[in-house]
């Protein structure tokens, strides 16, 4: 047995770790990543500030946990109540609103519950519940899931009233949940970007959108260096300055997907 080539192979295998530029770890939500906006912003951020942003794509719940544990330097999520709690707990320096997009209801193109004509998002949910039409929920404690639960509460339909026969908790990310909805031909609430980018639509169609209650505010939260001394607080602030700059505004507002504008920049300066 010749050991030389095997040895060479293993040596190569071990030469893993490569030199890195100034990098910053940011936890973002699946919905932000799925929109494709990250692919536009990240190269520009690197060009303008020299910061290599490494994205951890997780649900809002996990993103906040990563920030609390100090495993990331900043987070970009969309669940106001949870974010404010995060800052109050001393884990974040502050909360800075950056932009918003919106949620939409998607469902079987025949629309058995008739939500297309609904006057509001809560009415649409009420119609789905009345008809016992299959509805897929994220069920993963993400920002989208929290938003959905809030809307159910506003519609006056509590957890007990949502029978397992039609209300299915996928316990998964936006894409996986959309796959489930597509497979079951069920209703689902999704952010617009994930829906437009989704490649396995099947019989599903966009049925309801436009209620202001469905607006979805994204906020940037640098992780507190007082809580975790190792976080790259200075880079995180540099990134924040970039995210609220005119340059970011032009890129975010100018981002279109399949003919539609996705995000509206609304950072206060």
């Amino acid at each position: 047995m010749k050991m030389g080539p095997l040895l060479a192979l293993t040596l190569w295998a071990l030469s893993t770790v490569s030199a890195q530029a100034e990098s910053l770890k940011m936890a973002v939500t699946t919905s932000f990543h799925n929109s494709g906006l990250a692919e536009v912003l990240l190269p520009e951020i690197q060009k303008d500030t020299g910061i290599e942003v490494q994205l951890l794509v997780v649900g809002t719940g996990q993103a906040l946990r990563l920030g609390e544990a100090g495993d990331v330097d900043a987070i970009l999520v969309h669940s106001k109540a949870a974010e404010e709690e995060f800052v109050l707990g001393g884990f974040g320096v502050h909360r800075r609103e950056i932009m918003f997009n919106d949620f939409v209801f998607v469902g079987p193109s025949a629309d058995p519950a008739g939500i297309a004509g609904a006057a509001s998002a809560t009415e649409a949910l009420g119609l789905i519940a009345q008809n016992g039409a299959s509805f897929v929920s994220r069920g993963d404690d993400s920002g989208t899931h929290k938003k959905e639960l809030g809307l159910w509460a506003d519609a006056g339909i509590d957890a007990e009233a949502r029978a397992v026969s039609w209300y299915k908790e996928a316990g998964a990310g936006m894409g996986a949940s959309l796959n489930t909805a597509s497979g079951l031909n069920a209703y689902i609430m999704t952010d617009r970007a994930s829906w437009l980018k989704f490649g396995n639509k099947g019989d599903l169609a966009l049925l309801y959108a436009g209620d202001p209650a469905l607006f979805n505010q994204y906020a940037y939260l640098p992780v507190s260096p007082e809580m975790h001394g190792h976080v790259k607080a200075e880079l995180a602030l540099q990134l924040e300055d970039w995210l609220v700059s005119d340059r970011a505004r032009d890129l975010i507002d100018g981002y279109v997907l399949e003919g539609g504008r996705l995000f509206v920049f609304n950072a206060k300066r």
């Binding site: 295998a13 893993t16 770790v17 699946t30 490494q54 495993d71 894409g175 975790h228 190792h230």
Partner: protein, 234 residues
């Protein structure tokens, strides 16, 4: 059927155009798993051999436990390694979470019991054959283990390759400790998971075919380098 065909075509396209991202994540897959296999083999092979040769009180219990650990659920290993390496965990100061090193550590935990168990089985049979000879030559325990390791190298290679097979296709643990960061910790399996989530079944499937091809290629290369099935028994 159409999806599968589209996947095959997409795979061919990616390979023939030498897609830069594809090459990057394939190499990272190989590096992570080969490193983990190397470390696991360095621990597992001598451990398996030692368990075959040495007699001690709880030997059966240790072997049974080792066999049971072959079925260690990767997602649980991932979670535990994650909590250990997290900044708030006991090894947080090293800042290893979400790096390829963390992925290697998790895979070493998964692969070592597997490699140790398989090598123990193989060496046990060989030891039965060699027992009288090695005893009569008055060899030390270290010499016995070295002899068995060398003469059983083909079977031990199988043990390491079984480890490679489990590691290269593993997604549960490395997704958790690596975080699937683009250009940093994304490997083939986590990329497949991501693309499936996006509903891009053709691309996911293409990556899957490439992963299978890679696993087969590595096995073939190692077999040809070690000249198994070529001349005589050894």
């Amino acid at each position: 059927m159409n999806d599968i065909l589209a996947g095959l075509l997409h795979a061919a396209h990616l390979i023939f155009t030498l897609d830069a991202d594809l090459i990057e994540i394939s190499l990272r897959s190989l590096r992570v798993t080969l490193s983990a296999v190397l470390v696991s083999s360095l621990i597992g092979l001598p451990l398996g051999c030692w368990l075959a040769v040495q007699r001690f009180r709880f030997r059966r219990l240790v072997i049974a436990t080792l066999n049971a650990l072959m079925g260690l659920p990767p997602v649980v290993v991932g979670l535990i390694v994650y909590l250990l390496l997290s900044r708030s965990g006991p090894f947080g100061v090293f800042g290893l979470l979400f790096t390829p090193t963390a992925m290697i550590i998790a895979q070493v935990v998964i692969l070592t019991p597997l490699i140790a168990s398989i090598s123990h089985q193989a060496i046990r049979d060989l030891w039965a054959e060699y027992h009288d000879l090695l005893i009569s030559l008055n060899t030390t325990r270290r010499q016995r283990i070295m002899t068995l390791l060398w003469d059983g190298r083909r079977a031990l290679l199988t043990a390491s390759l079984a480890g490679f097979g489990r590691g290269i296709g593993e997604v549960g643990a490395i997704m958790i400790v690596g975080g699937n960061i683009d250009h940093a910790t994304r490997v083939l399996t986590t990329a497949i998971s991501l693309e499936t989530g996006k509903g891009n079944f053709a691309l996911a499937l293409a990556l899957g075919f490439i992963l299978i091809g890679l696993a087969v290629a590595v096995n073939l290369i190692i077999h040809s380098l070690s000249r198994t099935e070529v001349s005589g028994r050894w």
